[in-house]
């Protein structure tokens, strides 16, 4: 059992790019929660960090859109965005090609994942890395679920991908942390940016904390779009992380709508200790 950490975090570009426009008290509490996630990952002894993202057309486009992809390189450059706009300088994050290849080979046993020997990081991964590995001293493995270009990855397949990731992680000797990143309800980059359905978010996070598979999969894209915006499609990364936790209970360490960040900012993790139970495997 080498999955040593599993959690979820928001990645909206405003978190770093529009930091000066947010309410300082709420913003700083959110940043502190992100710092807590970093401390927990460091304490876990993780030797690599899988960032399970909902990338935004930095690598994948509608000419060849994979439902799932995992990076397989020794380094990843980012951000693709204007550094001043995002508030994050250009960087090269370390990867681990060999580890990626072993993980991908195992995931492929149950899920048809694409691999990428080149991967440009956008805000979906850059923002989490900014907080979680600010010195870029932890190998990163980017992974992705298509949350942007319909037809989208079905939710039950996102769950299957999470299970496959867990099986793969547990097949290698390295200690690995997994962080799913995305928004819950939000209408990013549209005229409705800043709108957040807090009640919807809290209901979703309740399902996530209980790690209730049936409840987490009980959504459809039309209702998600109607109630949670197109940004709500990114629940796939939360759902896959739930699956990887194999029934473990979760804790939401921080949740608060921050409209200028265009999302209900979230930091949450699963308590993996004792899961899966010995007699459940």
């Amino acid at each position: 059992m080498t999955l040593v950490y599993a959690g979820c975090a928001s990645h909206a570009p405003g978190i770093t790019g529009r930091a000066d426009q947010a309410d300082p008290e709420t913003r700083d509490a959110f940043y502190a929660a992100y710092d807590g996630m970093r401390a927990d990952i460091e304490a876990s002894g993780a030797e690599a960090l899988i960032v399970l993202a909902a990338e935004h057309f930095a690598n994948f486009f509608m000419d060849n859109m994979p439902s799932f992809a995992i990076g397989m390189a020794d380094f990843y450059d980012g951000p693709i965005e204007d550094p001043a706009w995002l508030g994050i300088d250009r960087f090269r994050a370390p990867g681990n090609r060999d580890l990626s290849q072993r993980l991908i080979s195992e995931v492929m046993q149950t899920v048809d994942v694409s691999y990428a020997e080149e991967w440009k990081i956008d805000h979906g991964i850059a923002v989490p890395l900014h907080f979680l590995t600010p010195r870029f001293d932890l190998p990163v493995i980017p992974a992705n679920i298509n949350c942007q270009g319909p037809p989208l990855t079905p939710l039950h397949r996102a769950w299957a991908f999470g299970e496959a990731l867990r099986q793969a992680v547990d097949s290698v000797p390295e200690k690995i942390a997994l962080v799913g990143t995305g928004g819950i309800s939000h209408w990013p980059a549209t005229p409705d940016s800043g709108k957040i359905n807090e009640a919807w978010d809290r209901d979703f996070l309740d399902r996530w904390q209980r790690n209730d598979r049936d409840a987490l999969l009980d959504y459809d894209d039309l209702s998600v779009y109607s109630e949670a915006g197109q940004g709500g499609f990114e629940i796939r990364t939360f759902i896959a992380t739930s699956a990887a936790a194999l029934g473990a209970p979760g804790t939401v360490h921080f949740y608060a709508p921050i409209p200028i960040f265009a999302v209900g900012c979230t930091i949450a993790s699963y308590d993996l200790e004792g899961f899966p139970a010995p007699d459940s495997t």
Partner: protein
Amino acid sequence: MSLYYVQKFLYHLNRDPAVQVAYREDPGAALASYELTDEEVEALTVPDIGLLYVLGVNGQILMHFAAFHQVAWADYLQQMRDGVAAYGPVREGVYAMTGFEGVEGAASP
């Protein structure tokens, strides 16, 4: 209407510095190899952020294009709202899926 190619050009522009240089030097030449209507070429050349939004460009692509043109965030949001007022509802793409909520749907910037 060729939303796919509008977005494909922006996808290339957003991630490739060489395309950015080419576009800055000669937008028409940079756009020539894409299957675009005259309206789309003009929207990408001006640039008309509002029209691009109405044409259906995904915001995750469009906001990067706006940032590339040094459009401030609040102005980016307003240009999309102005675009809807000027050109009508979003015509295609994700935002046309269940209709457009409209300017009133925005709780805050």
